[in-house]
Amino acid sequence: MDANTPLYSFLLQLGDNALILGHRLGEWCGHAPEMELDIALTNIALDLTGQARALYQRATELNAQGKTEDDLAYLRDVPEFRNVLLVEQPNGDFAHSIARQFYFDAFNYFFHEELTRSSDAWLSGFAVKSLKEITYHLRFSSEWVLRLGDGTATSHEKMQTALDDLWYWTGEMTTPSDLERQMAADAIGPSLQQIKSRVNDRVNDVVSMATLQLPTGTWMQSGGKVGRHTEHLGFILAEMQFLQRAYPGNEW
């Protein structure tokens, strides 16, 4: 554990979610099923990377210790990342990437909607700006859940499989860690218990409209918020951090 302030750790956690999911979406670049989707997915990736940069920059302003946003992105190892496990899960097929995105967007939307009321002026400003991007992300992923779910027999089956496969990574998002409880108590961060029902309602609405079914399993995986990650994060960092590790201090 580092001796940093709770707000600093909170900023890093939000930034890590955005950075890692943005990296995953970036992996679709040049591989998406259609050229239009290639651009759509990388647009979302760039939105998320931009959000991560803003959050890391703010964190270094609060607690510089001579560190830059690049140090935070490229020179921390797996246990120091605080992103939820969902966002580091592999892309899988297109339906899996859409399921991951949809589950995350639904949470992220209501999270940022509440974050606009943060007592921290910088965070509320950040949330107002990001919410516009996230609103579009949720629209995009919801529309795709609908089209695949209510599409052909094959697309329905693939979408259902993806929702099932990723289900047990979803509970972690709305289960508060000690840090998140403290942030909520200080009126800096949202109360996750409060937004949980809104997230669930939205997910249920879209999934049932798509003629799909949400899994009923209640056991949920967790650990990302305290730095216990799946094997996948190490491989992401190996690729993402290679350049800075091999050529320290290198710049564009």
């Binding site: 259609e34 239009e36 651009i39 759509a40 647009n43 579009y136 529309e143 089209r147």
Partner: protein, 94 residues
């Protein structure tokens, strides 16, 4: 064999008060997806405030081979341009 999505023509209004202008075309499975794809491809550098899409098959175009009959006759009819009026000095912005 890969069956691809239908083609759509995209029209973008760059700012309020201006006309929608043809920006290009995209592929999409339906109209809503066409709006999203057009948004992602043609407005990502702040080019627009409004988007129209129309499936390309609904556009009827003039035949280039008919160009002589359609457009040539207008070329020598300069009297159709309002350039023969003497404007009073009081009229400034014409």
């Amino acid at each position: 064999m890969k069956k691809s999505w239908p083609l759509w023509e995209v029209f973008i209004r760059s700012k309020s008060g201006l006309d929608h202008k043809h920006a290009g075309s995209i592929h999409a499975a339906d109209a809503e997806m066409a709006i999203e794809n057009a948004r992602d491809i043609y407005t990502r550098r702040n080019e627009g405030v409004s988007i129209w899409v129309v499936e390309s098959k609904h556009i009827t175009a003039s035949d280039p081979d008919d160009a002589d009959a359609l457009f040539e006759p207008a070329k020598d009819k300069i009297y159709r341009h309002p350039t023969f009026y003497n404007l009073p000095d009081e009229v400034k912005h014409m």
